[in-house]
Symmetry: C4
Subunit: 279 residues, 4 copies
């Protein structure tokens, strides 16, 4: 009887903690903030670890952060499997757990803890593993507060996918043409800066994206003319994806609004007459 | 009797000067221009004071500007407390004054004069205070001419808050991943430019934002490839916040328009009944 | 009788040439292309004249271009005064001419020829005059083909004026704050690069606008952090005016569409009932 | 009888392969991916060929790629002429073939194979031909998957043509004015960096587009002020085309939606009559 009474409660508590529950949403909010802080501490640690002085002086702190994070993330992962029957309803608990583990966000969770457990099973080079810990970043995408935003951004990008591919392709086309022109214009005057078209390609990318490091730049009149044209085209090229994505966001917002007020837009709720459908 | 007669007039005059009154809006316009000029003179003085030659030669002028500004801003602050019962109606004048002082714009006003009066009460280092005078900047936000624009901009940004956070997070994620890749690609070839991942992070920021100072740049083929990818991704990353904010402004403008023509949109043109509110 | 017959014809012909007439629109199109070519040749000449070798070798050509341009522009100006009664109808021809001369586009025309005639009246330094010839640029704004576009762009900018001012102000605020922070962070480490806040301001502008010449850049950790923050804020700052102008263009296009179909949107052209106004 | 039976089938098969047929759309998808891969391999080969070491070591591979590509593209071209009666219906097959060959996409196809066959007919310098192979790029525009996106992007750009021309013109105007100002401000202080206005123009382009290579930059106070102004104006200038193109995409999407639901928007819901067309 004790078990019958407590277990549903614990499951509910876990659910409220991990998902945006009906009541007790606050607990989930603080949990989200906690996870987010942990992720940013992890990233900071990853970066600082690469500085030898830090690594030597604070190696214990770095290890503490690593162990603490892995405990939290593992606990969370286990809890999510435990409440899988609530988040991924299926005919039985095993199927629910299976559904969760192989869901996109389930894989994200797994990838963020796997790099720690992997060397316990099979021996791998540790340096390679350090990069894998970057997967922990993906956990931010799962934060309840941001799932709507993440979905919106990815939906807009995926809807405009083909147009964005075309923009990418146009960019590559312009880069290649610019590289060819530049190579023939400057190749003889600056053989060390533009020894081949691949080198000119590096200049073209730096110019079109307006980065302009200043390690390679044209010195002849023709080269400067090509460079100026490419830089100005670069401005136009920024306009294309920006315009596409602006339009995409507008579309999405419009659609959401229309879905929210279906009915009120097509029929009068009082006389019941259809406004638009009839015709 | 003299007091009874004059005081309301003076209050009305103060109100017309400080707020966009019903009549005498012109007086407020000139007051606004005056305050704006004063702010820009203050900023100019703050910058020029940091040049030793200027500081020595014109120290008297800088002090005159400072004293004049503080008198004007203090007078304004006192007047705003005086007319608080008109701008922040409450059960009594003390409550109104209190409401004004602790309102957002009341705090802005206080912060722009406090750095002058603070050392008279408690001794603080003067250099630190000079920076605090930058708070005077915030007074521009209060100019009647621009309150609508300020509100619009901040509303749009705050509505798209979550999406902008996500964009920031994506930016950080790309920066960190790029730093890791760059460190492993160039770290051995340019140990002085990329001694650790933090140094690579500095390169990543300069590249993704297309600043490209030219103090660090890749020299290996792989490094140049990563750099080019990051620069191109940078263009896409500019598109995200721009698209979000464009859509936000469009939404706000649409909403304002709809609010202006309520009625025509909220009632059935045939049975005349309101339908939006009830459905 | 000969005069009675020819003169109206010549006026009509002039009108068709200079304005987009009802018939003979083609003649105006070619005239527009001619004027545009002339303007671009003038600009090219202005730039090339500054190169001593060119100036010496082709001085005759430059003079020919100048005289030819001035003849064309003067002829056009006289013709526009001549047809002023058709473009600027008034009670008499003198008033029409007066209206044209003091109209915005009339002043543009005058400014583009005045620098040539001015030294004939009062002696002025010639170098200063060369710059004044840049006013000829403004003639492009008058080309019939582009007046709609010019109006659209300037209307959108002027409608979003206050918001754009606020963006400018925010930009200046960020620049000033960044300059202060940078001066205190790097001033002691690079006294030659950041001797005062004005010098730091130069760095701030180059960073926020992502130009990044590379003549000044931070070397300390704190300085690099501030620099990175400013560069990322710079991306967000680009988003504000872009979003505003996008929304402005959308609004303008919507309005134009609505004006084109007034009536059809508010009343049914067959049963005559008002759709929206009634309620 | 054998011919009667097989030929229509082969034509249908070719059609399904090259165009998005009614059934068998999958075959066309894989064909599209194949062509795209081939184009990118071609571009890669073109770039790598310019590096002497690669050219010597892998000349056989480069030649193999070239011959393979030319066979595929020629075969495709022949097949497209063969099925021209289905894609370009005309009174007879010759006319269809003629229509296809002189259509825009027909010319694209021809240009991508011509550089190979040309030297067999008339002897031309081979280096020049290598650039002509870049025409093969244009084949991407023909991929069925992307024709809609390509059309959308080009339609939006062509609809906003005049406004974009004006933006270009404004850009040139600002560049020229900035060059003049900069030349007079810095010409005497840095005669080697700003020897004439054309050199100042190069600086202006690098600054306005925010490329900022760092080969020329102002050193005087006035020069830095002008430079800062131009860089900030550059940000505004990016906003114009971006805003225009955003609005253009929005318009296009709106139009497409309206076309999809014609009827519901063009008839009065009460009397049922069409009202848009007649009014």
């Amino acid at each position: 009887m004790w078990e019958n009474f407590t277990f549903p409660n614990m499951k509910q508590l876990s659910y409220n903690l991990l998902q945006k529950g009906t009541h007790g949403a606050d607990i989930n909010k603080y949990f989200d903030y906690g996870i987010m802080s942990l992720i940013f501490i992890n990233i900071g640690a990853l970066i600082l670890e690469s500085i030898p002085e830090f690594q030597q002086q604070y190696s214990l702190l770095f290890q503490a952060i690593e162990y603490f994070s892995i405990i939290i993330f593992t606990l969370e992962y286990v809890m999510r499997i435990y409440i899988a029957d609530m988040t991924h309803p299926a005919s039985n608990n095993w199927k629910s757990a299976f559904l969760f583990i192989f869901s996109f966000y389930g894989m994200v969770d797994l990838l963020s803890i796997l790099p720690f457990y992997l060397p316990l099973i099979i021996p791998i080079d540790l340096r390679f593993l350090r990069i894998l810990r970057l997967f922990r970043f993906l956990r931010v995408l799962k934060l309840n507060r941001y799932t709507h935003s993440v979905d919106l951004i990815f939906q807009v990008i995926s809807e405009k996918k083909n147009e964005l591919y075309m923009t990418c392709f146009l960019t590559i086309m312009i880069l290649v043409i610019a590289s060819f022109l530049m190579f023939y214009a400057e190749g003889h005057h600056q053989p060390e800066a533009f020894p081949n078209i691949l080198a000119a390609f590096w200049w073209a990318v730096a110019t079109l994206t307006t980065v302009g490091y200043g390690d390679v730049y044209p010195i002849t009149g023709l080269g400067k003319f090509i460079s100026g044209m490419i830089a100005i085209i670069g401005i136009g090229l920024v306009a294309l994806p920006t315009g596409l994505i602006s339009a995409g966001f507008m579309e999405k917002i419009h659609k959401e609004k229309k879905q929210n007020k279906t009915g009120s837009k097509h029929t009068c709720p009082h006389c019941g007459k259809d406004f638009h459908e009839h015709s």
